[in-house]
């Protein structure tokens, strides 16, 4: 019967502090210093999970990060964190722990019926059943399978946890704080380098924490104190390096809720090694553990097997486990797969009363739900009753991080495992990750790695050389590979987490899935949180043997981040909800907020959509606001427009190059509408640009393209036209703007600026003047987006609200009111002005009916490619106006356009880009892109909106719905 007892003394637990927790709803107690795993083992909870496919009972395999079985959900409701590794997570008071993948409990699991249906879940089951000819069924089956078999479930309620992330920099990042890492951090730290030491465990020391030797503990404690006294060293605990990225960037998770992104100049890998399981029948039964885990539970958590332990090993390291157990009064038997282990080990075993059976493995593990006895194989085929079986198949260096950048590990025969295939620039390895085992070797490695890093950094090496403690355990690592059992083994597991057995690998081989990458995908080997930590090398070796090739030639799978489970929340950090992206606010934002403005998101901007004076609902409010502008005077916030100051002796030449139409001859005090193309002849943006002086222009761009245009102008000036003496500066945030529009707008401006002549003669259509007002300079421009008599007033941002209020007050007698984005965008549809919805980066000038604007005299960007064959086609989707012919229906943006004889199917001949109710025409009108464009003027067509099963008849008309002569603009 599997079981552990607390030893009377020893361990790194605080016996004075009892900690209460719940596990699957029941109350338990353990001690401060326990992990979830040691706390459960101390309470005789040895079956803690069910396996992924077969729902076999599972116990803890390990005492570390590689744990494939012991994953738990912590917390409740919105604070639930699934897939927490029980072997590395410290127990805290009041912790609510739940097992996963078992219902109703791990000890009695209804789904274990899957075991009876095991042949059903054969290798490649998922592929064959769901990804083959019937692959469409995957979407139906997948949720069911995930529910029955799988890891923890994410909570379905809103998370209540807080997450955060930070960035930092260092000279030397040391990953791992075992003997190699500690030595490296000390050497680097003493040189004055900025050091970060990242340790995934709750304390520094690595393997030393699992030892009971005082001399090692003293060395660890002294080293830790020295490091803590160095101000240039940061020690991060519970800090797992999850991924390494280009140029030595490391992403570290700190517990479940925080992420730190470290930019390191050099990185020292001191990640150690994971013990490898051995492959034999029923090696997944609770009670079968890694040998090193038994040592950790004994020496760190004061948990000894109740009476008897069997150790099976192919290498020397497991003897230290056996010796420690024997000294804690556990009866120990060793099954040794090798013929003749070292004499000194046998002598010490004899001294401690440990029986060693050479040339022996494990034939089977006996017991019901968990281990009761083991049956040895080979010459000594005895059956031994025991509490636990500790297995050691050797050590796999933790090479994962070294290969995140694409450097594949390479197989090393001397240690029968993979070592790093190399290191990226500025990265070094030390200790067990290199396959160098033993304390002295690790400390030597760590020191040397730090010295190499310091040389890279141009820093002096510390004078003080450190002595490494001498221990009896510090011997060379001797191993003879033993990959497979001699006997038939129906249930010998390679990957405990994904339930991949020896048989599955054989079947994959038989079906031709030979390469390791195919093997992985076909059998799911090494997927999940395991990521090859325990499973990889055994499977590679077995496949290589089948294929009759050396293991080195069988290749290896690619290790990718994250190294261990981490929360999505930590990755997202604070960039959730409204912080997902920045919010931009106009300088008039506060005014809109206080005066009935209703906001809408437009890109990053919060814009005033409509105002409550016009009604409660946007569908009706914008129409009232449109009527205001068509009959009286309204004021709208246009601050989001891109605003670029263009200055320099060559400003005129520069603008002449980037706009299709001419700007060099634009008189001072005049504005002009301009369109710019990309090099490929496609329309980039439009806007009005005014000439302020001989050498200064004031450009406006669309809101959406402001950043793009600015960057484009800088690109041209900096990279290609350095001969032009021009400078551009963005004023988008520095200046605000407002449009005063409607037949009474001139009257309104005259009331606002009584000393300025704004008559048609003084400020004609497209006229621009800078005026001094209220201690600043305002830019008055007679521009119109709505088609009415209209002006824009621009000013420095901090004057925007006072100026707006001043105009509102001065023109109060004209009943001036604000109008929002919806009305602004609808007025321009009536006028037939194109905007962002039409300028979709696929149209040519001709598509938008703007071909006539382009200069025939001067060169301009995009001129050559504008005339390429494709852009000259008569079949292009071009701008049309559309009028609804059926008054009882409505039009929708995005509706698909068909000729009246067409079958209503597919992508049609175009689509509607913008729709509005026309206050002038008293019907729905729209702009759209239609195959052949205005060639079809007057034709009746159909707009289909399949999502709502709507169809409506339309007529193609000129996009200029109102005032075609422009008499209002020039009034």
């Amino acid at each position: 019967m599997t079981g552990f007892r607390r030893t009377i003394t020893g361990g790194r637990i605080n016996r004075a502090n009892s900690v209460a927790f719940t596990y699957n709803g029941k109350n338990y107690r353990a001690l401060e210093g326990d992990t979830i795993a040691s706390a459960l083992l101390a309470n005789d909870q040895t079956i803690i999970a069910r396996s992924f496919k077969y729902h076999r009972p599972r116990g803890f395999l390990s005492a570390g990060l590689e744990e494939p079985n012991g994953l738990f959900s912590l917390g409740e409701g919105g604070a639930t964190i699934p897939n927490t590794i029980g072997t590395t997570t410290a127990l805290t008071s009041g912790m609510k722990i739940k097992s996963q993948n078992a219902w109703p409990s791990p000890t009695f699991d209804v789904m274990s019926i899957n075991s009876l249906a095991a042949p059903f879940f054969t290798t490649g089951f998922y592929y064959k059943t769901f990804m083959g000819p019937l692959k469409r069924s995957w979407m139906w089956y997948e949720p069911l399978i995930r529910k029955a078999a799988g890891l923890g479930a994410a909570t379905e309620v809103k998370g209540t946890q807080r997450y955060d992330s930070t960035n930092s920099f260092c000279d030397v990042l040391v990953v791992g704080s075992g003997p190699a890492g500690l030595a490296a951090a000390l050497t680097a730290g003493q040189s004055g380098a900025r050091v970060i030491l990242a340790e995934q465990d709750s304390d520094v020391g690595g393997s030393v924490l699992s030892s009971k030797l005082d001399v090692l503990e003293q060395w660890r404690a002294t080293s830790a104190v020295e490091l803590r006294n160095l101000k240039n060293v940061r020690i991060l605990i519970n800090a797992t390096v999850q991924g390494l990225y280009d140029h030595n960037q490391a992403v570290i998770s700190l517990g479940a809720n925080r992420l730190e992104v470290v930019q390191a100049k050099t990185i020292i890998h001191a990640t150690g090694a994971f013990e490898r399981p051995l492959v034999f029948n029923n090696n997944d039964k609770p009670g079968v553990m890694l040998a090193s885990a038994l040592r950790t539970y004994l020496n760190r958590y004061a948990l000894a097997p109740k009476r008897r332990a069997v150790i099976v090993t192919n290498n020397d390291s497991a003897y230290d486990v056996a010796f420690d157990l024997a000294e804690a009064d556990v009866a120990v038997t060793i099954a040794e797969t090798r013929g003749s282990p070292a004499g000194e080990l046998l002598a010490r075993a004899a001294q401690l009363g440990i029986a060693v059976f050479p040339n022996s493995g494990i034939a089977d593990v006996l017991g019901g739900q968990q281990l009761r006895a083991v049956k040895l194989s080979g010459r000594h085929a005895v059956t031994i009753e025991c509490d636990v079986l500790g297995m050691s198949g050797g050590w796999n260096p933790a090479v994962h991080l070294t290969s995140h950048g694409g450097i594949k590990p390479k197989y090393d025969d001397t240690i029968t495992s993979s070592v790093p295939g190399g290191f990226a620039e500025g990265q070094y390895g030390a200790g067990a990750v290199l396959g160098h085992f033993g304390l002295q070797a690790c400390i030597r490695d760590g020191t040397a790695a730090a010295e190499s890093a310091l040389q890279d950094l141009g820093l002096k090496l510390p004078k003080q050389k450190r002595d490494a403690p001498v221990t009896r355990e510090d011997r060379s690592y001797a191993i003879e590979a033993s990959w497979q059992p001699q006997e038939q083994a129906a249930k010998a597991f390679l990957d405990f987490q994904n339930d991949v057995t020896l048989k599955d690998v054989k079947q994959a081989f038989q079906e031709g899935y030979l390469s390791v990458e195919h093997l992985k995908r076909y059998t799911t080997l090494g997927m999940g949180t395991d990521q090859g930590k325990t499973s990889n090398i055994n499977a590679l070796a077995i496949m290589a043997a089948r294929r009759g090739m050396p293991i080195a030639d069988a290749g290896t799978t690619t290790f990718r981040p994250p190294f261990a489970p981490l929360t999505i929340g930590a990755i997202a950090g604070r960039t959730i909800g409204k912080h997902f992206r920045p919010t931009r606010r106009s300088p008039l934002h506060a005014w809109h907020e206080q005066n009935g403005g209703v906001f809408i998101e437009a890109g990053l901007w919060q814009r005033a959509w409509y105002y409550d004076w016009a009604g409660k609902w946007p569908e009706t409010a914008y129409i009232k606001e449109m009527e205001l502008v068509r009959s009286g005077v309204g004021i709208a916030d246009v601050s989001t427009l891109g605003k670029i100051d263009v200055q320099g002796p060559d400003a005129a030449e520069f603008l002449n190059r980037i706009y299709v139409n001419g700007f060099a001859k634009l008189p001072i005090g005049k504005a002009r509408y301009g369109v710019m193309l990309n090099d490929d002849g496609v329309v980039l943006d439009d806007g009005t640009t005014s000439r302020i002086s001989d050498t200064q222009y004031y450009m406006t761009t669309t809101t959406a393209q402001a950043g793009e245009v600015m960057s484009w102008l800088e690109y041209l000036l900096q990279c290609h036209w350095p001969e032009l003496n021009v400078h551009v500066a963005s004023l988008t945030d520095e200046w605000g703007g407002m449009a005063v529009s409607g037949p009474k707008s001139r009257e309104a401006l005259q009331l606002a600026f009584v000393d300025i002549d704004v008559s048609n003669e003084a400020l004609p259509y497209m006229g621009v003047m800078d005026i001094a007002f209220g201690g600043t300079t305002l830019r008055l421009m007679r521009l119109s987006f709505s088609g009415e008599l209209a002006y824009e007033v621009h000013c420095p941002s901090n004057y925007a609200i006072p100026l707006w209020e001043h105009i509102m007050r001065a023109a109060a007698q004209l009943d001036i009111k604000p109008y929002g984005l919806e009305a602004l965008a609808s007025l321009r549809i009536e006028k037939g002005h194109v905007a962002g919805l039409e300028l979709d980066h696929r149209n040519s000038l001709d598509d938008l009916g703007l071909g006539k604007m382009a200069s025939k005299e001067k060169p301009y960007i995009g001129k050559e490619l504008r005339f390429r064959e494709n852009l000259q086609s008569q079949e292009r989707w071009s701008l049309v106006g559309l009028e609804l012919l059926e008054p009882d229906k409505k039009l929708r943006g995005g509706a698909i356009l068909f000729a009246s004889a067409d079958e209503i199917k597919g992508h049609g001949r175009g689509y509607i880009t913008s729709v509005t109710w026309s206050v002038e025409l008293n019907k729905f009108i729209a702009l759209g892109l239609y195959n052949g464009g205005l060639k079809h003027e007057g034709e009746e067509i159909i707009a289909a909106f399949p999502l709502k099963n709507e169809q409506a008849r339309l007529k193609i008309v000129s996009p200029h719905f109102i005032d075609k002569e422009g008499s209002r603009l020039h009034a």
């Binding site: 990225y245 280009d246 140029h247 960037q249 930019q263 950048g405 694409g406 620039e425 190059r657 090099d679 490929d680 960057s711 800088e714 690109y715 900096q718 990279c719 290609h720 036209w721 001067k858 060169p859 960007i861 050559e864 490619l865 005339f867 390429r868």
Partner: protein
């Protein structure tokens, strides 16, 4: 990835925008026929290895610059 801004020094790549291939000269303004511009705008090598390209320190000093980057490894970033 870190990129060397000639004005601000080394910064995280998230501060930059990519500006495309910088290995070909742009035809002088107002020169070149349709074929010249077609080849300039649409035809690119897609090397695995060193690649000369434009970047802008768009969230910094806004300087445009050229650098050579190994497209396979992102290594050896040289201005």
């Amino acid at each position: 990835m870190r990129l060397p801004c000639p004005h601000c020094g080394e910064r995280d790549y998230s501060e930059f925008r990519y500006g495309g291939d910088a290995s070909k000269p742009r035809p002088a303004h107002g020169t070149g026929d349709l074929k010249t511009w077609h080849d300039y705008y649409f035809l690119f090598e897609n090397p695995k290895g060193p690649h000369t390209e434009y970047w802008q320190h768009v969230l910094g000093c806004r300087q445009w610059f050229k650098l050579t980057r190994n497209t396979a490894t992102n290594a050896k970033v040289v201005v």
